[in-house]
């Protein structure tokens, strides 16, 4: 979301409705926050940084957001919604569960690698942006739970997997991605695809089948 692509709004009569302008300003503020956070880290970002990046006034900021945290939350939501869309598109045409799980993993990692600043915003900065953002982060990760738990149907009879299996898998992957991104290696997150996909499939399909399927798909 680089804000330099958005020049300042022309002054005076520009033919936009009030709502369009407001919507536009909100988007610019979100983009402005994302660039400011990428540059300085959430804790150090000031309202002045955000409004300067967004090229809007402080008054406009307060018309849209109560403060920095609310603006961050909005940015986080935009990124997560986009990610959800990407995952949805990736899994939609694929009929089989292992294929869907691999495609979803790929979609998330590809996005994080191609947008390192947003990857950092979501995974790293979100942790210091207050309890509301932390809760939203946990919620976003939790939304991937059903995608994984569908794998339970792939298993024959026998003992069901423990209830916390999906949370453990997701937590492991978040932790793995977090370490890469926090270490400034977001671009290399894509290299983790085979490892992550195998980690997702193995509890459901067993390590050999998981490894073979991932090998074929990557």
């Amino acid at each position: 979301m680089p804000s330099e692509e958005l020049g300042p709004l022309p002054a005076g009569r520009h033919g936009y409705s009030r709502e369009q302008v407001a919507h536009h300003q909100r988007e610019r503020l979100i983009a402005g926050l994302a660039s400011a956070v990428a540059e300085k880290g959430y804790a150090a970002v000031t309202l002045t940084d955000i409004t300067r990046e967004a090229k809007v006034s402080r008054r406009v900021f307060y018309e849209n957001f109560e403060g920095k945290e609310e603006c961050f939350l909005a940015a986080f939501d935009v990124v997560v919604a986009h990610l959800r869309e990407l995952v949805g598109e990736a899994v939609e045409p694929i009929p089989d569960w292992p294929g869907r799980a691999i495609a979803a993993t790929r979609a998330v990692l590809t996005f994080l690698a191609s947008e390192p600043d947003l990857a950092r915003l979501c995974l790293v900065e979100s942790r210091s942006a207050g309890p509301a953002v932390s809760a939203r982060f946990n919620e976003a990760v939790g939304q991937l739970r059903p995608l994984l738990s569908q794998g339970r149907a792939e298993r024959g009879g026998g003992r069901p997997l423990p209830d916390s299996t999906e949370d453990s898998i997701l937590g492991s992957l978040v932790s793995l991605a977090f370490r890469k991104v926090a270490g400034g290696e977001a671009e290399q997150v894509e290299d983790l695809l085979p490892e992550c996909a195998e980690f997702v499939l193995a509890p459901y399909l067993g390590p050999d089948e998981a490894s073979q399927l991932v090998h074929e798909a990557t």
Partner: protein, 226 residues
């Protein structure tokens, strides 16, 4: 602190006076405890030095005698708490003489015990440490790596050893930390015990396979409920 020669006669009778070292240690303990309790309620960004001083019932001068600022107190809390727990975990792992899965079970038991006994401190180390800047994150990572090292011997039990990913141990440890964090955020520290066998199963599965991991987890569940 022993009395200096010649001064002994001036010591009041009765119990040993509190030494200066003990008093200082007590002040630090109060500051760190207050920091942990405040963090659990307000998060790292919402906790100020003023709040810490008030809650710990110490003066600013006392605070500054021990720590330069809030961040330093928080890092001291992380150091003290992770050292205590990680050392206890390592000791439990070493003490257990059974095969590797039993040793992992013993280590995991101590981790869960400490988290349940000190939920606010655990929350500071597992949740807030990740929101408090690079120094705190680095400490969290170091502790995670020490725990991951206990898993590594499991590779010898795996016929596919060579194909296990390089980061497997850190990834698994990260998964356990995530599940613990979720429970702490949800205020469910008291219910952690029930989660212990399945967490063990999750850790063992990549090394010993599903059946063996489930068997170990079952035996572990029996052992801890006995």
């Amino acid at each position: 602190m022993r009395a200096l020669p010649g001064k002994a006669s001036r010591q009041p009778p009765g119990p040993e006076p509190v030494s200066r070292d003990a008093a200082a240690a007590d002040q630090r303990r109060r500051i760190l405890e207050a920091t942990a309790d405040l963090l659990a309620e307000h998060g790292y960004q919402g906790t100020t030095l003023e709040m810490i001083v008030r809650q710990a019932k110490v003066g600013y001068a006392t605070f500054y005698k021990h720590y330069a600022d809030r961040d330093e107190a928080f890092l001291a809390l992380l150091d003290a708490a992770t050292e205590r727990t990680v050392a206890r975990i390592e000791a439990a792992f070493q003490r257990e003489e059974g095969p590797w899965p039993d040793r992992v079970g013993a280590a995991l038991g101590v981790l869960f015990e400490d988290v349940a006994a000190h939920p606010n401190v655990a929350r500071a180390c597992l949740v807030e440490a990740l929101t408090a800047g690079p120094e705190a994150t680095a400490r969290h990572e170091r502790a995670l790596k020490r725990l991951a090292a206990l898993l590594r011997p499991g590779r010898e039990l795996n016929p596919r050893q060579a194909r296990l990913p390089e980061n497997l141990e850190e990834t698994l440890a990260g998964g356990v930390v995530w599940v613990l964090s979720q429970r702490l955020i949800g205020g469910e520290a008291a219910k952690l015990r029930a989660l212990l066998p399945e967490t063990l199963e999750f850790l063992l599965r990549p090394y010993v396979g599903e059946d063996e991991a489930a068997k170990e987890a079952g035996e572990f569940a029996e052992a801890i409920s006995a």
